[in-house]
């Protein structure tokens, strides 16, 4: 593998982590969706580059799905949903920006330490991709727990899935079955979520998950 191939792949995977950080502190839903679109765009570029350097044409399909579906269709649809629900203003946060960022840095460090240590024998590209992918997964998780709004939790979940796709494409020669099914399951998940968001609106007049918590637990 030549230097430039490796460096570009490294750059793109690293950018994905960076965009995850950018998502972490967005406090408006529109901005969050835009950054999610960027996240998906970087993923598409990263996957396409992997397809090129691995000489694995089927990965272009995954890249196309990331580009068309995740970077365009989903953000546009979610835009429309939040307008329809009238919740395109502030995002509430459970913890502050500073704490979330610090936690994020800690998680990235953790994933580097864990993945680089256990993959010493794997080829360097796969190693770094896995480390970055784990960082993206953990940042997605962090976003899900620091947000209360159902829409931003879903965005957190979708960036988590982007991390998984990065890991799957980094693992050289992983069968296509899984990649297509990952994309497919995102589609299903999205439909489910869409239904849920509408239903939640119908019943509660809010998508703030905190309000749902009022109903939790035992019947009094």
């Amino acid at each position: 593998m030549t230097g430039i191939d490796f460096d570009t792949a490294h750059l793109l995977a690293g950018s994905l982590v960076l965009v995850s950080f950018l998502e972490l502190y967005q406090d408006r839903l529109y901005a969050l969706l835009n950054f999610y679109a960027l996240h998906a765009l970087v993923l598409a570029a990263s996957v396409a580059w992997q397809a090129f350097i691995q000489d694995a044409p089927h990965l272009y399909v995954t890249a196309a799905i990331a580009l068309g579906f995740k970077a365009i269709v989903i953000p546009v649809a979610l835009h429309r949903i939040i307008v329809r629900l009238g919740i395109h203003r502030e995002i509430e946060k459970v913890v502050g920006v500073g704490t979330a960022m610090l936690a994020g840095i800690g998680l990235v460090a953790l994933s580097m330490v864990v993945m680089l240590r256990v993959t010493q024998e794997a080829d360097p590209l796969a190693r770094e991709d896995l480390a970055f992918a784990l960082a993206v997964v953990l940042l997605g998780l962090l976003m899900m727990v620091t947000r209360r709004n159902a829409v931003s939790q879903v965005v957190g979940f979708m960036s988590l899935e982007n991390g998984l796709v990065l890991a799957a494409t980094g693992a050289k020669g992983m069968p296509l079955v899984v990649e297509i099914s990952v994309a497919f399951s995102i589609l299903i998940a999205f439909i489910v979520i869409g239904i849920f968001l509408f239903r939640i609106r119908e019943r509660f007049d809010t998508v703030d998950v905190q309000v749902l918590d009022l109903f939790r637990g035992e019947r009094r």
Partner: protein, 484 residues
Amino acid sequence: MTFDGVTFNASAGVLLIPACAAALLAVMPDYRVTARLNVLATTLTLICALSLFFGRPQPSAYLLVDDLNGTFIVLTTFVGFTTSIFSASYIGHELEIGRLTPPFVRFYHAMYQVLMFAMNLALIANNIGLMWVAIELATLTTVLMVGIYRTHEALEAAWKYFILGSVGIALALFGTILVYMAARPVIGEGLDAMEWTVLVSRAAAFDPALLDVAFVFLLLGYGTKVGLAPLHAWLPDAHAEGPTPISAVLSGLLLNVALYALLRFKMLLAVNPEALAPGPLMVTLGLLSAVFAAFMLYRRRDIKRLFAYSSIEHMGIITFAFGMGGPLANFAGLLHMTMHSLTKSAIFFAVGHVAQVKGTQRIADMGGLIETHPVLGWGLILGVVAIAGLPPLGIFMSEFLVVSSTFARAPLLAIILVFGILVALAGLFLRLNSIAFGEPRGPSAKAEASYVPMFTHLALVLAAGIYMPPALVAWFQNVAGLLG
């Protein structure tokens, strides 16, 4: 038709029948027909599953039937079959009182078959990626079914289940990718490196460090679906707010399917001498779940939540037994899993009808069940006696085996486990007392119940507690040996 043709049909049958039935049920409007068709489909699937005992196909790149998953498939299709009978009368009542409308019932029946398809696929898959996809599909269908009543609580439960379940599933996928990464240098690229039979034959040469990390992710991921504490938060809500047949299938089957996935990967690690021993991790989580859930039984006000926590307790015991490993503990774990599936679904059959006749799930609003509804009341009592682990029922025997095999090897762990079991027993009887005995409370209208599934399960549990046929014992011993 050749013998090969027959066996091929059987393994494809457990997948094709539910898939076709789901498509058919999705378009058929009449409730009475669809409920019967649902039962018919599960019957045919059960017959197919049973025929796997008499000849099974060669493992292909995607499908595999061996003694281990054969056991799980038969259990799954059997409970799926009895639950569909219960479901017919349960859903009929929900339709009558207007809690569900005909379009939702149609949707429910289609989803029931999709769930059966997904669970069978997860069990029969020879490819770890395919298994993951199937478990994800099963999660999504149950999310939709948990939210089917469209109440505040149901939607909240479904949302919580969806979010936690997806995170678990995502972690499991990361673990799956890591397993592939570990396998790739040894097996080479492509489909082979995800094929279970190939993986297990070559796992000794895998990089142990990668396998360790992979197992941690898989344990957290699939462990969420098993409902192990502290990853169990979705389970009580999902059980309490969905339709009761789904609670029965969740507790009795889906938790097992997730555990099965975990066991497969445990077997993979066992082959590699340098990888970490997965046992202690499973033992810790299992013990934690069992003791934690036992204490949680005391403050339950909702009857379905009560038994949901009891499921966490029992899944903890089963995970503990498999974590201990060895022929005896594995045998005990398999037996306990089978007994728990049968008993817990029988209890949910009873609970479903009780909640329908009383019009509530609040324990405080039901009482004196043996006076108002003697058959239902005594059925529930028998079920609780069984699940609490009293002799002479089957769970007593399996719990006894778990405890006695542990005493020989780790007495301290056995003491903690016994403590948990006793705490749970007292908690269950405390609640049972106010449900079944005392002043009758709540409506006492006659129940239009189907008792057959409930008493069939309980009779099987009783029979297993009194006399286990040697053939069955030999079978379980054989499977326990496979688990290592």
